[in-house]
């Protein structure tokens, strides 16, 4: 479907002790089903705010957000979020963290229309499949405190994917990781997205990550009152290989466009709030 997610005339203003703070203005964007969209911009440009609006964690002060032609009224497992700080519950094992999500969506309390509640064995299979997808079957019975940062982030991704969401929302998921782990997880994400054909919206401020992973890059202007500056279609053929693309002229060109936007036309000016 071409207009799977529609964002129409969205504005977001926050009330602070110092008055009204306009975070976003005049956001108009459509995302097709199965598309991978990257939101990129400097710090403070409202990327996370926009992601939270799509997730339904906040409601816009003006405008409307639609997902599958229905207004986004609140958060839900249909729009699964992968947080920047993995947000795994430290007193549950990795298996139990993913099971919590699976149980909620597919178990007795689930809200899936037209589907019966699944039994525990089926839920167990789903959880194990999700962990296998991110290659963490061996760490299923460990607690988050016992695994590395990259592994924790992978469990977060497993949890989000296990809910079979319509949209996968990722807020700088690899920002807290070292460069090597980041590269590995980016490659894994490419594989997973190819397999599950998910619609993904990812916030990042890594230009290479944006061009490598996405079909469309949404470049935001500087905050406050940030808006969409430019949208770039990335038509590189899939499956994408990091090593091959490094010398691909189109990749280099796309990269240049984004860098030009970020560092020349929208070079970050330190403003006093």
């Amino acid at each position: 479907m071409n207009k799977f997610i529609e964002i129409q005339g969205v504005e977001q203003t926050f009330r602070t002790s110092k008055g009204l703070f306009p975070a976003l203005r005049d956001i108009n964007l459509t995302i097709a089903k199965g598309e991978f969209v990257a939101l990129i911009g400097h710090s403070g440009c409202g990327k996370s705010t926009l992601l939270n609006l799509i997730a339904g964690l906040t409601t816009p002060t003006a405008g409307v957000l639609l997902c599958a032609n229905r207004e986004i009224a609140g958060p839900g497992p249909d729009r699964a979020v992968v947080f920047q700080n993995h947000s795994l519950l430290p007193w549950l094992t990795c298996y139990e963290n993913v099971y919590l999500a699976v149980e909620r969506v597919f178990g007795a309390g689930g809200k899936r229309i037209g589907a019966a509640a699944e039994k525990r064995t089926q839920l167990k299979t789903r959880t194990e499949a999700a962990l296998e997808l991110v290659g963490l079957t061996h760490a299923a019975h460990k607690r988050p405190g016992e695994i590395s940062g990259g592994m924790k982030q992978r469990v977060g991704i497993a949890r989000a994917l296990s809910m079979e969401p319509q949209v996968l929302l990722m807020d700088e998921p690899f920002g807290a990781l070292d460069a090597l782990t980041r590269a590995k997880l980016q490659d894994e994400l490419l594989e997973i997205v190819a397999r599950t054909k998910s619609t993904v919206v990812m916030v990042t401020h890594d230009v290479d990550e944006a061009v490598l992973l996405s079909d469309k890059i949404v470049m935001m202007t500087n905050g406050p009152a940030a808006t969409i500056g430019e949208v770039l279609q990335v038509d590189l053929p899939r499956p994408r290989s990091r090593v091959q693309l490094a010398q691909d002229p189109q990749y280099i060109n796309d990269r240049m466009v984004v860098i030009d936007f970020l560092y020349k036309r929208q070079s970050h000016v330190e403003k006093v709030a």
């Binding site: 964690l57 839900g76 979020v81 430290p90 919590l100």
Partner: protein
């Protein structure tokens, strides 16, 4: 263990036979490295861990002996008190009458009252803390009340307890309750407010039911705060029971202290001081151990 031996280019240029003999010479060296003697007794560890507390205790006893000497006998010496303690503990569980029991029974009576008062405080205080922390309106409603009532000395509540409950035992339990409840309410409420927003966002995205949020997120996250509230409460409760028992009489370690004062049996008072201190120490230690079981790395931070 010789794991990585980096040969310089010059070494590689040497003839093979030399290298072979070099390797033979290296092996005995590796063997002697492995057979290094285990270090001797850890004297330094002993010095740091055991000697200072022992010296502290010795200092206390020394000052005590000095004070005893200068007071010309009205304060008993450590030696006399020790003999008395041996006598008291030789039969800690005798019963001669309703007000004449062994020290063991007295301590147990006091602990029982603390347990009851404390248990009631936990039963009421912890759920109240959850509600106050979770719902802003209730927080605003009850915080001024808590701030008003908290600084009141528990002993000031004792007459009201005697008036309402018409008995020493219930009044003492009431006093324990009213002094233990505040730390538990406040700490639990703070714990609920300190649950990281990320966990609550996860709950929202997963659309968890209120019960699941309570059992899977709130309760485990608040547990460390709850346990520190419990520790504070137990310390205060044990303090208060002694004072309350002194005032109300009956049975218990506090009553025993006051009774021995009326009999001018100063040695027993000092024995009681040590008993109270040791029991308090044991309670605190047990709770620290319990708290340690439930703290996870990431919740601590």
């Amino acid at each position: 263990m010789v794991s990585a031996v980096f040969h310089s280019p010059a070494e590689r240029a040497r003839p093979v036979s030399n290298l072979a003999s070099e390797r033979k010479a290296a092996v005995p060296a590796a063997v002697t490295l492995a057979s290094v003697k285990a270090p001797g007794y850890d004297w330094r560890g002993l010095w740091l861990r055991v000697i200072p507390p022992v010296l502290g205790l010795a200092l206390l006893i020394g000052i005590w002996a000095l004070v005893s000497l200068t007071s010309k006998g009205s304060i008993p010496s450590p030696a006399q008190t020790w003999l008395q303690a041996v006598d008291v503990f030789s039969d800690p569980f005798y019963r001669n009458g309703p007000n004449d029991q062994g020290v063991g029974w007295n301590v147990l009576m006091s602990l029982q009252r603390v347990a009851l008062g404390f248990g009631l405080a936990a039963l009421l205080g912890i759920p109240a803390g959850f509600l106050i922390g979770r719902f802003d309106f209730l927080g605003r409603m009850f915080n001024p009340l808590i701030s008003l009532l908290r600084p009141v000395s528990p002993l000031a509540w004792l007459p009201i307890g005697l008036l309402v409950f018409k008995g020493a035992n219930p009044a003492a339990i009431w006093t324990i309750f009213i002094c233990s409840v505040w730390p538990m309410v406040i700490n639990t409420a703070v714990g609920v407010q300190r649950v990281p927003a990320d966990y609550m966002n996860v709950a929202r995205v997963l659309n968890l039911s209120e019960w699941k949020i309570l059992t899977k997120i709130l309760f485990p996250a608040v547990l460390p705060y709850m346990l520190s509230g419990v520790r504070l409460a137990v310390g205060t409760a044990w303090l208060v029971i002694v004072a309350a028992e002194m005032l109300t009489g009956g049975v218990g370690i506090g009553f025993w202290v006051w009774d021995e004062w009326n009999n001018l049996n100063v040695k027993n008072i000092i024995v009681a001081i040590f008993v109270i201190g040791i029991v308090g120490l044991i309670l605190e230690y047990a709770l620290i151990k319990l708290a340690g079981l439930f703290t996870f790395e990431e919740v601590k931070s």
